[in-house]
C-alpha cells in the first residue's frame, strides 16, 4: 500500500515545492498581515507535508464507495484524453462542426474500433443533432472555422 502511495506522494511533493517556490516570488507579508503569496505558500508547504504523510500509516476515515471492477485500458485512457485536448486546441481553427465531427469519428473508429463508414455516419448524425440543439435552439455561440455555419 505504501509502495502504491510513493508515486503520487512524490508527484504531489514536487508540485508543492514548485508552487511554494512560485509563491515566494509574490509578496508573502507577515502572519498578522498576509500578502498575496502567503496563503499559496503555506498551502503548498502543507501539501508537501501531507504528501510525505501519505507514506506513513495513518488512521483511516470511513470507507468510500468501491472502485471500478475492471480497470480501463491505459492506451484508451491516453487516446481519449489526447483526443479531447486536441479537440480543444482545434476548436477555434476548424470550427465546431468540423472539429466535433473529426473528434467523434476518432472516438468511434480508433477507440471503439467501429468500421469507418459506420463511425462517419454516426458522427454526422450526432454533430448535426448537437448543432441543431445547441446552436439553433439554445443559442450557444460556437466557433465557425472555414465552414459558413
Amino acid at each position: 500500500m505504501r509502495g502504491r502511495a510513493a508515486a503520487p506522494a512524490l508527484t504531489l511533493f514536487c508540485f508543492a515545492i514548485f508552487t511554494a517556490w512560485q509563491a515566494l516570488r509574490l509578496r508573502l507579508g507577515a502572519l498578522n498581515s498576509p500578502g498575496p503569496g502567503f496563503f499559496p505558500f503555506w498551502m503548498a508547504v502543507g501539501l508537501a507535508l501531507a504528501s510525505l504523510a501519505l507514506l506513513l500509516p495513518w488512521p483511516s476515515g470511513p470507507e468510500g464507495p468501491p472502485g471500478e471492477a475492471t480497470p480501463a485500458p491505459l492506451r484508451g485512457v491516453l487516446m481519449v484524453t489526447g483526443g479531447l485536448a486536441a479537440y480543444g486546441a482545434l476548436l477555434d481553427v476548424l470550427g465546431f462542426v468540423l472539429a466535433s465531427f473529426g473528434f467523434l469519428v476518432f472516438l468511434w473508429a480508433a477507440i471503439d474500433r467501429q468500421p469507418l463508414f459506420r463511425s462517419v455516419l454516426r458522427a454526422g448524425i450526432s454533430v448535426s443533432a448537437a448543432y441543431l440543439l445547441f446552436d439553433s435552439l439554445l443559442r450557444v455561440q460556437f466557433p465557425r472555422g472555414p465552414l459558413p455555419f
Binding site: 498578522n32 501539501l47 488512521p59 468510500g64 472502485g67 471500478e68 480497470p71 486546441a89 450557444v140
Partner: protein, 502 residues
C-alpha cells in the same frame, strides 16, 4: 408557524408556474436518466447543464439543477434493484437487499418501496429545510469574516474527516483545491498569481473545466473497459404496491432513514453515500431478524434509499442559509446561483424570497413528479441500460466539451477539462477523494478573503477569531471533530495491545 405556511404557499405559487414546473420536470427526468446510466453522475451533468441555463431566469435554472440532483438518487436505485448495478455510488447499498428481492420475484414491491421511501424522505427534507433554513440564515446574518473563517475551517475539517479512506489523501486533495483556487487574481488586492503571464490563467481556473473534468471525463475514462450493455432484466415487474406486511416493516425504516439522511446531509463532506451505509447498519442493528439482511430484507432497502434522498435535501441547508456548499453537487448549485448573479447565503431569503421558496417547494413538486414518473416508466428506464456504452461515451464526451466551452466560449477550457479528466481518473485509480478538492476550490478564495479581512479589521490581532461566541463554539466543534477520531484510534490501539499481551 403561520408565516412559514404563508411562505410555503408563496413558494408553491412560484414553483407551480408552467415554466418552473417544466424546469422541474426536465431536471427530474434528466436526473433519473443519468441516475440509471453509468458514465455520467449528477455532479458532471449539473455542471454540463449550468451554462445552458444561462438563458433562463435564476429560479427555473436552480429548480432544474436541483431536479437533476435528487432525480439521480431515484434513478440509481432502479438499476441497483433490477440488475445489481448501482447507477449512482449512493445506491451501492440498495444492491444488497434490493437485488435479492428482485431475484425472489419481488422487484415490484422493491421499486415501489424505494419510490415511496424517497418521496417520504424528500418530504421530510422539505419540511426540514422550511423549519431550519430561515432561523439559520437569520443567525448567519450576524456572521462577520472571523465567524465565516471558523465555519469554513469546520467545513474543511469535516470534509477531510468524512471523505472516506485515507485522511492524508483527503488532506492532499483539499490543499490541492486551495492551490488551484489561488490561480488568478488575489481576492484582496488583485495581484496576479500563478498566471505565468497568460490572460487565460489571469482569470483563474474555471469551475466547469475542473468539475466536468474530475467527475464527468474521469467517469467516462473509468468506464472505457466496460463497452457492452449490461445484462437485460428478464423477470416480470408485477405487484407495484407493497403488501401491508411490507409497509409495517419498511415504514419505520423509511422514517429513520429520512431523519438520519437529512441531518447527516447538513454536515459538510457527508454527501449521500455515508448516510446510506449508516442507515443500513442501523436497520440491521434494530431488526429482530438481522439474518434476513443480505437476503432481501425490505427495510434494508427502504432505510438507505430514504436516507440518500433526505441527504440531498439536508445538504441544501448550508448552501441556502450560509452560502457554504457541503458537497460537490451542491457546489455546482452554488456556482449556478453565482452565475445568475444571486449569491446564496443568509440574505437569499430576504432579498430573493421567490427563488428560495420556489426552489424549496419545487423539491416537493419534484418528488411528486418522480413518484408519478418512476413507477409507470420503470420499463423505459431499464431499457435505457440496454444501450451499449460504446454508443454513449463519445456523445457524453462531446456534451462535456460543449458544456465546458459554452461557459466562457474559450477552447482553452476544453483542454483544461481534458487535463483535469486525466487527473480525476488517476485520483480514482489511486483512491484520492474528489470532494475535498472541489469544496476547497470553491471555498478557498472566500476563506482567504475572510482571514485577511478579519486580520485587517483587527489590525493584525488574532483575538478577533475567538471574540464572538459563534466563532468560539465553531472552533470547539472543529477541535472535537479532529480529536474524537484520534482518541478513538488511540483507544483501539491500546485495547489491541492489551489483547495481544499474554
Amino acid at each position: 408557524m403561520a408565516g412559514m405556511v404563508d411562505s410555503l404557499v408563496y413558494g408553491f405559487s412560484v414553483s407551480l408556474t408552467p415554466w418552473n414546473l417544466l424546469a422541474c420536470l426536465v431536471g427530474a427526468v434528466v436526473g433519473t436518466i443519468i441516475g440509471v446510466l453509468p458514465g455520467l453522475g449528477p455532479v458532471a451533468t449539473m455542471s454540463l447543464l449550468l451554462p445552458l441555463t444561462l438563458r433562463m431566469g435564476p429560479t427555473p435554472a436552480i429548480i432544474l439543477l436541483s431536479g437533476v440532483f435528487y432525480g439521480a438518487m431515484y434513478g440509481g436505485s432502479t438499476t441497483a434493484i433490477l440488475l445489481n448495478i448501482p447507477g449512482e455510488a449512493s445506491s451501492v447499498v440498495s444492491c444488497v437487499d434490493g437485488y435479492q428481492m428482485a431475484q425472489k420475484g419481488r422487484a415490484g414491491p422493491a421499486l415501489a418501496i424505494c419510490a415511496w421511501g424517497s418521496f417520504v424522505a424528500g418530504t421530510i427534507g422539505v419540511i426540514g429545510i422550511t423549519l431550519l433554513a430561515p432561523p439559520l440564515a437569520e443567525l448567519a446574518l450576524a456572521f462577520g469574516p472571523p465567524e465565516i473563517t471558523a465555519v469554513l475551517v469546520l467545513s474543511f475539517t469535516l470534509v477531510i474527516v468524512f471523505a472516506g479512506g485515507s485522511r492524508a489523501r483527503a488532506a492532499c486533495m483539499a490543499l490541492l483545491g486551495f492551490l488551484l483556487a489561488a490561480v488568478g487574481q488575489d481576492p484582496v488586492d488583485a495581484t496576479p498569481r500563478f498566471d505565468f503571464r497568460t490572460f487565460t490563467l489571469l482569470d483563474g481556473v474555471g469551475f466547469a473545466p475542473l468539475v466536468i473534468g474530475v467527475f464527468g471525463i474521469a467517469e467516462v475514462l473509468a468506464n472505457l473497459g466496460n463497452r457492452g450493455a449490461p445484462e437485460r432484466y428478464r423477470g416480470r415487474i408485477t405487484g407495484l404496491w407493497p403488501t401491508r406486511e411490507d409497509w409495517k416493516t419498511a415504514g419505520p425504516a423509511i422514517g429513520r432513514g429520512g431523519l438520519l439522511g437529512f441531518f447527516m446531509g447538513i454536515l459538510p463532506g457527508m454527501g449521500t453515500i455515508i448516510p446510506t451505509f449508516l442507515s443500513y447498519a442501523l436497520e440491521r442493528r434494530l431488526s429482530g431478524h438481522p439474518e434476513r439482511f443480505g437476503h432481501g430484507a425490505i427495510e434494508g432497502l427502504a432505510g438507505p434509499e430514504s436516507a440518500n434522498n433526505a441527504a440531498t435535501a439536508g445538504s441544501m441547508i448550508p448552501l441556502l442559509a450560509l452560502g457554504i456548499p457541503p458537497s460537490a453537487a451542491v457546489a455546482v448549485l452554488a456556482a449556478g446561483f453565482l452565475t445568475h448573479g444571486v449569491p446564496p447565503g443568509p440574505l437569499l431569503i430576504a432579498e430573493h424570497p421567490d427563488l428560495f421558496w420556489g426552489v424549496v417547494t419545487s423539491m416537493y413538486t419534484g418528488n411528486v413528479l418522480l413518484l408519478l414518473l418512476n413507477l409507470p416508466l420503470v420499463g423505459l428506464w431499464v431499457r435505457l441500460l440496454t444501450i451499449p456504452y460504446s454508443y454513449l461515451f463519445p456523445l457524453i464526451l462531446l456534451f462535456c466539451a460543449i458544456g465546458t466551452y459554452s461557459v466562457a466560449n474559450n477552447p482553452w477550457d476544453v483542454f483544461l477539462m481534458a487535463v483535469f479528466g486525466l487527473l480525476g481518473y488517476v485520483m480514482r485509480r489511486l483512491d484520492f477523494p474528489a470532494v475535498p478538492l472541489i469544496l476547497t476550490f470553491v471555498l478557498g478564495r472566500l476563506f482567504e478573503e475572510a482571514v485577511r479581512q478579519s486580520l485587517a479589521r483587527s489590525r493584525g490581532s488574532f483575538a478577533v477569531f475567538i471574540a464572538h461566541p459563534i466563532a468560539l463554539v465553531t472552533w470547539a466543534l472543529t477541535a472535537l471533530v479532529i480529536l474524537v477520531p484520534l482518541v478513538a484510534a488511540a483507544r483501539r490501539a491500546l485495547v489491541g495491545r492489551g489483547e495481544g499481551r499474554p
